[in-house]
Point group: C2
Chain length 324, copies 2
């Protein structure tokens, strides 16, 4: 069946029927706007990301369900980077009239599966036709107490730069997809990244992260955002960068290039006081999440890269710029 047979309101009904209610949602899908009841004494954290066919994804590379999961994941990851507990989201989808309802159902199954997993409720959005490919726009809302929100601007000289999981995998996975590979660990890291919600919230709740960002543009670019907004510099120990075995095999010649500039890992990059190193290690171990200290915050500006043998290292590409 094609969308033109189902119709716009048929599609909305089909989606609305699959959505569970949540106590914070006074009014969900079906009115001019959704009505949400914020928890007392919390701030509302809100973020929005667009994903376009041919720019952010390729329907020849990804299955619809993974794309649905990833579309929500990248937004939830932004909330995690603030230390916020995700609560609700809005979904905008523009799609060609001849888009199959099977593909649409697969996409929605992925979105709603991820929503269920992280306890977030679809409360509204927009559906419309597209003359070109699929466009997805998600706005996600979360909550955190004002004193616990973790900004990019909170890093201080002498703190440790840390990262969860491994980096470079998603960029390597994209390279593999372009080479025709369609499965495996690196490919799944690109197509279906895991947002570090529980870790982000726990780091914030326990007052352990002074500054935080998710790795969407690459370690150097994203750490650069923290440095710029915090008015500090950073020294990165390249030998401490956490790489997966699969990544090391793929990037045997130079693991640093993609490890530093490859984005979309959606790991959390954050700064902590040195005295909290053990507490953070314990906390992340409790979540079964790998924890690495990869550098330190220093005076000045910019990021100094230190190789294991002390040789200088130059980053070729700093991160992704949509218009360059």
């Amino acid at each position: 069946m094609k969308l033109k047979d189902l119709g716009e309101f048929g599609l909305i009904d089909r989606i609305a029927r699959q959505v569970h209610k949540a106590p914070s949602v006074v009014l969900g899908i079906g009115d001019d706007a959704a009505a949400l009841a914020p928890t007392a004494e919390t701030l509302t954290l809100i973020t929005s990301d667009m994903l376009l066919d041919g720019v952010h994804f390729d329907l020849n590379f990804t299955d619809a369900k993974s794309l649905g999961r990833k579309s929500l994941s990248v937004n939830l990851s932004d909330l995690a980077a603030m230390g916020a507990t995700p609560r609700q989201f809005l979904l905008g989808i523009a799609l060609p009239k001849d888009f199959s309802t099977e593909l649409m159902d697969g996409f929605m199954a992925g979105v709603l599966e991820q929503a269920e997993r992280f306890g977030v409720t679809l409360v509204g959005g927009d559906t419309c036709s597209s003359r070109s490919g699929l466009v997805v726009s998600i706005t996600a809302l979360g909550e955190q107490r004002p004193e616990r929100v973790v900004k990019r601007s909170g890093a201080s000289v002498g703190e440790l730069v840390c990262v969860t999981g491994t980096v470079g995998d998603a960029a390597a996975g994209l390279e593999l997809l372009r080479q025709g590979v369609r499965e495996g660990f690196l490919v799944s890291r690109q197509l279906d990244p895991e947002p570090r919600i529980a870790v982000g919230v726990a780091l914030a709740d326990n007052g352990l992260a002074t500054a935080m960002i998710d790795v969407s543009d690459g370690v150097v670019a994203d750490l650069g955002h923290i440095c710029e907004l915090s008015g500090v510099g950073a020294r990165l120990q390249l030998g401490a960068l956490p790489f997966s075995d699969e990544y090391r095999t793929f990037c045997a010649d130079d693991p640093y290039a993609l490890g530093l500039s490859g984005g979309e890992d959606y790991e959390l990059l954050f700064c902590i006081k040195p005295k909290h190193r053990d507490a953070v290690a314990d906390l992340l171990a409790g979540f079964g999440v790998k924890f690495s200290v990869i550098g330190e915050v220093v005076k000045g500006e910019g990021i100094e890269l230190v190789t294991p043998d002390g040789a200088p290292y130059q980053v070729v590409q700093k991160g992704f710029d949509h218009f360059q």
Copy 2:
């Protein structure tokens, strides 16, 4: 200058510099998410709309500044239809790399001019490249006390169906644009509609509207949404439909067709108790906004159309469906 010369972060800086801060915005543009402080004892109303080149607008028809204004207006109109005071918004824009910065500046000038006028603050969003045309995605947030939020589902039998302003103008304007006309009242109603923010909020604050929606899909389709969700029917007096002189001239043969099914007027369609008729008339007169009673809420379902001479009238097109 082209966007590829300015770069993604250059564009974001350029936008961020033009934005004023508001007390409700704890953290605006520049972090992973914005942090907002909701007013105590209010609900957060939230709505999202996408606008795509070639679907919702045509850059050959509209100037960039009007498009910027309209992009925000259609979202604020949804908040007005809930009786909510608009507070903040997020802006997602996907645009071709060779898009001119002049066009972009014009668009942003329109968005921010409208934002300033209605006291809403840009707090975040997303910028990315598009392989096809411009895509705009706006999410707007507003506030209202729980007992004052006006839903689509509150209409009761015996109430009056009312509408602000005039209907059909925007659809007639679109027709004129297609015929090559580029200015005049009807065209400006299509390109730069006026969201009825103050009226929507006042109707809610004074407990006068029992159900409300904005006319985006056409009177019959939008009243149909109220009827369906309220479990009622409606009888519309076609002779009472408010038409502008310009519209009457344009649609001399049959003013009802576009008046009933033409969307995008962004007027408010709402129900009131008969005893409130004078109070509502006075309220709207105070805002300088035309007020018309166009029908009544009846038992049953569906919408009965009554012509001035009592002849039956059949609606040909019920409203806009994006996939049909």
